[in-house]
């Protein structure tokens, strides 16, 4: 087995609150892992621990077999980890093109270090996610769905080996969701391993090779999508959260 | 030992005044998220109001204090209403620069109007003092200390026990919270800044009684107020009081044991250190 990512006993505490509680899982190379769970379950926190936006309280994260949980975020980016932000973080004053060019300039080792080449690269990725018509606009002029696409293009331009997508489909209409699903599948076909956080069940079912369910920071289920979604605990967690 | 005791008493008395100086700055910073670089200049104006009422009209400086507060309140209200309200939603750096511009305007207008000469407010009882367990304590300093404490207490009462006060505190959490209390945010901001300025005016009036004044004292006083705000954090007026006393005592001890020219090294050094180690203030809660 060739695991690109291994998470062992990962724990994150915010003051009193256990946001992630001894979570263990692995992601095989070139697979898509769906990460689901009710709001506040700890999904975003988990992504932040892997990408280096947050440091874990305990436990370890291994990327291609090497521990990375003590590395600064930018070093993980160089190794080949890219993420999107649920609360989008564009560079507001830069053009859409330059937003993506930053990814190409700084991303994983092996991406370009020349500004002109980075902009060319950025153009290609913007085309890939369907944002070509917006390249010259300032990022803060984009609407919600376009910002989601921009987040995706920025991450892709980093040429990652592992892509962490935090709710890139939230707020999109069904047609747009189909488009994004196609894009994600194409990305996987290029050999990139992916973790997807999503609430749209149909999307997550059609994308994921495996599913992992978080609830109150704990892993309550993991496995093939159909099996996991039949699991009583999972259903209870979701219904419980809906009733609240 | 005798000297140390005297120094400590001086430090505490000065610290009370320091706390009052910082109180208005902390209020405005905590509630409006405006770092008011003109705060010291407002203190300076308060001192001049007191000076002119004392020399021109022969008023007792402590009687002139309410006048200074009222005038400064009006000035502060107008500044917020017609200048700072226009930049309150801009990046913090913009309002910082605007308050610096105000500081420059106020300082040099003062220089033009009042001249750059040093002034003193010397009431007849300035020299009166008493002995406190062996330390010589001037009455004016005790009086100034008492007024500073009383105003700190009054602000606390106001913020905790009146509707407007609660609206101001809610604004610290959320800029438009004033609406929930049926208050127009524009007016509430102006009111808050006005109160901050009035406190600066009071501090200035007291400062004029215990020290010399000229138009340029503002910048240094802003710096001291910052140090206290950072030591005490932005949350409680009680903490500001502790911060003020702490700074007063530390400065007094520095002057005694290291040398009077080192007080600024120590007070600003503490400011920087606290910022680096605990940006939310020594007494504030952790981030």
């Amino acid at each position: 087995m060739d695991n690109i990512l291994e998470v062992r006993n990962l724990t994150k505490r915010f003051h009193g609150l256990l946001a992630i509680d001894r979570v263990t899982f692995a992601l095989e190379r070139n697979q898509i892992l769906g990460l689901i769970g009710p709001n506040g379950a700890g999904k975003t926190t988990l992504v932040s621990l892997v990408s280096g936006t947050l440091q874990p309280t305990e436990g370890s994260v291994l990327f291609e077999g090497k521990p990375i949980h003590r590395l600064a975020g930018f070093r993980r980016a160089l190794l080949g980890i890219a993420r999107t932000f649920q609360v989008m973080r564009p560079f507001p004053g830069l053009t859409v093109l330059d937003n993506v060019a930053v990814g190409a300039l700084f991303g994983a080792a092996g991406s370009t270090r020349q500004l002109a080449a980075a902009r060319e690269d950025a153009n290609r990725w913007l085309h890939f996610v369907g944002l070509d018509h917006r390249v010259r606009q300032r990022a803060d002029a984009l609407g919600g769905p376009d910002r989601k696409r921009l987040e995706l293009a920025k991450a892709l331009a980093m040429r990652p080996k592992l892509l962490l997508l935090d709710e890139v489909m939230a707020g999109l209409n069904p047609v747009e969701i189909e488009e994004v699903i196609t894009v994600i599948k194409k990305v996987r076909d290029q050999g990139i391993s992916i973790v997807v956080i999503e609430h749209v069940m149909k999307a997550i079912q059609s994308l994921s090779d495996r599913l992992l369910v978080l609830h109150h920071g704990e892993k309550i289920a993991e496995g093939k999508p159909q099996e996991v979604l039949r699991n009583d605990q999972v259903i209870a967690a979701y219904l419980g959260s809906k009733r609240r | 030992m005798q000297l140390l005791w005297q120094i400590l008493v001086n430090g505490v008395l000065l610290g009370g005044l320091y706390a009052l100086m910082a109180l208005g700055l902390v209020l405005v910073w905590g509630v409006l998220n405006i770092v008011n670089l003109a705060h010291g200049a407002l203190i300076m104006l308060g001192a001049y109001v007191c000076y002119y009422f004392f020399t021109g009209l022969g008023w007792d400086p402590f009687a002139a204090l309410p006048v200074a507060m009222s005038l400064l309140f009006c000035l502060g209200y107008l500044i917020q209403r017609w200048v700072l309200n226009l930049v309150i939603r801009a990046p913090m750096f913009n309002s910082l620069l605007v308050t610096f511009g105000l500081e420059v305007v106020i300082t040099y207008l003062a220089q033009l109007l009042f001249s750059a000469d040093f002034r003193t407010v010397n009431p007849s009882y300035a020299g009166a003092n008493f002995s406190f367990f062996g330390a010589t304590v001037p009455w004016v300093r005790v009086l100034a200390f008492g007024v500073a404490l009383a105003l700190t207490f009054a602000l606390w009462l106001f913020l905790d026990h009146t509707r407007i006060g609660r609206a101001i505190r809610a604004t610290a959490q959320n800029l438009v919270a004033a609406r929930l209390y049926g208050v127009n945010p524009r007016q509430l901001y102006a009111l808050t800044f006005g109160i901050g300025a009035a406190l600066a005016g009071a501090a200035g009036a007291l400062y004029g009684v215990v020290s010399q004044i000229n138009p340029y004292i503002g910048a240094g006083l802003t710096g001291k107020s910052f140090a206290i705000a950072i030591i005490g954090g932005l949350e409680k007026s009680l903490y500001v009081l502790v911060g003020g006393l702490f700074l007063g005592v530390v400065e007094a001890l520095t002057a005694l044991y290291i040398g009077p020219t080192y007080t600024d090294v120590v007070s600003f050094g503490i400011l920087v250190l606290v910022l680096i180690v605990r940006p939310t203030g020594l007494l504030g809660r952790t981030a």
Partner: protein, 316 residues
């Protein structure tokens, strides 16, 4: 304006300054030196404040250390002034590395105030150093004529501006801009934010220290109050912000404009010039917070509405 046109214009300005000694009065030459030094300071502040988004109030420390480098080398050790300039730069860069590390972790108000505090600390420390002449200061040996200083400060401004031009189109500069626009996102995308911020701070230090060194050598007198003057720091910020922070020519332009206007006013009443300066700050931040450069770009499109829109965007 097209970039090519801008560079031609810049070349004309440089040429104009370079020839001032041959046609201008002594007063004009002196004004020129002052304006060039201020423009250099505004331009180097632009690197940390304009491009990186860290509003430093500590740049006057670099300026002061540059001045003291020259003064100490000349007065205490009778070394050549070039050695003094280098000494000043080394001191300033050391300061940038040692204190940049902890201070650049702070954001917003806290960064601004910490750097302000550092300036005060440095003033107070230097006032107690024998080697720096304590609070009396140092008197430097009289140097050669003003022409030399005009050429020196002009060369320094050109080099600083070239550095900024390079930053604006390099990978390094893109990293700085990314930090300014969103530091968390920049780090996740692979920018070594700590290193980049410190390098930007150190680059500021080099140019500001050189400006301070040249100025001290020219004025032949230095004391802690004038060397670490906080209001000088604010002046450079205002000039940069007025001209257009994060642009190549804006800060220098802003410096020339504001220096000229306050020079004219100061010839009437000194405090009037300062009051004018204060009013300009307030009015400019309210009506054109992104500086003249942005105004020039957008005024044609929006007309007078440009000012209204700026106010509407930020008032309560």
């Amino acid at each position: 304006m097209k970039p090519a046109l801008k560079f031609i214009f810049a070349a004309l300005v440089v040429g104009g300054f370079a020839t001032v000694p041959s046609w201008g009065s002594a007063v004009l030459v002196q004004f020129g030196i002052n304006a060039l030094i201020l423009a250099t300071l505004a331009q180097s502040w632009n690197i940390i404040g304009g491009y990186t988004g860290y509003p430093s109030f500590g740049n006057s420390v670099f300026y002061g250390l540059g001045g003291y480098g020259v003064a100490i080398a000349l007065v205490q050790y009778q070394l050549p002034s070039a050695v003094g300039l280098i000494l000043g730069v080394v001191l300033a860069v050391l300061f940038a590395f040692l204190l940049g590390l902890p201070v650049l972790r702070l954001r917003g108000h806290y960064f601004a105030i910490a750097t302000l505090g550092l300036t005060e600390v440095m003033t107070a420390i230097v006032s107690n150093l024998d080697i720096a002449g304590r609070n009396v200061g140092l008197i430097l040996p009289l140097a050669k004529g003003d022409t030399l200083f005009l050429e020196l400060s002009l060369a320094l401004l050109v080099v600083t501006t070239l550095a900024v031009a390079w930053i604006s189109r390099s990978r390094f500069g893109f990293g700085l801009i990314a930090i300014r626009e969103n530091e968390v996102a920049a780090a996740v995308m692979g920018v070594n934010t700590t290193l980049y911020k410190i390098l930007a701070f150190a680059l500021c230090a080099v140019f500001s220290a050189l400006a301070g060194g040249i100025h001290a050598y020219w004025i032949t007198y230095l004391d802690p109050g004038s060397a670490f003057d906080v209001s000088l720091n604010v002046r450079m910020i205002i000039m940069a912000v007025f001209g257009g922070p994060g642009t190549i020519f804006g800060p220098a332009l802003g410096a020339f404009a504001l220096a000229a206007i306050s020079e004219i006013l100061a010839s009437k009443i000194t405090s009037l010039a300062s009051i004018f300066f204060g009013v300009v700050i307030v009015v400019a931040i309210i009506f054109m917070p992104r500086g003249v450069a942005d105004l020039a770009q957008n005024f044609r499109r929006f007309g007078w509405r440009y000012f209204q829109e700026n106010i509407k965007a930020h008032r309560v």
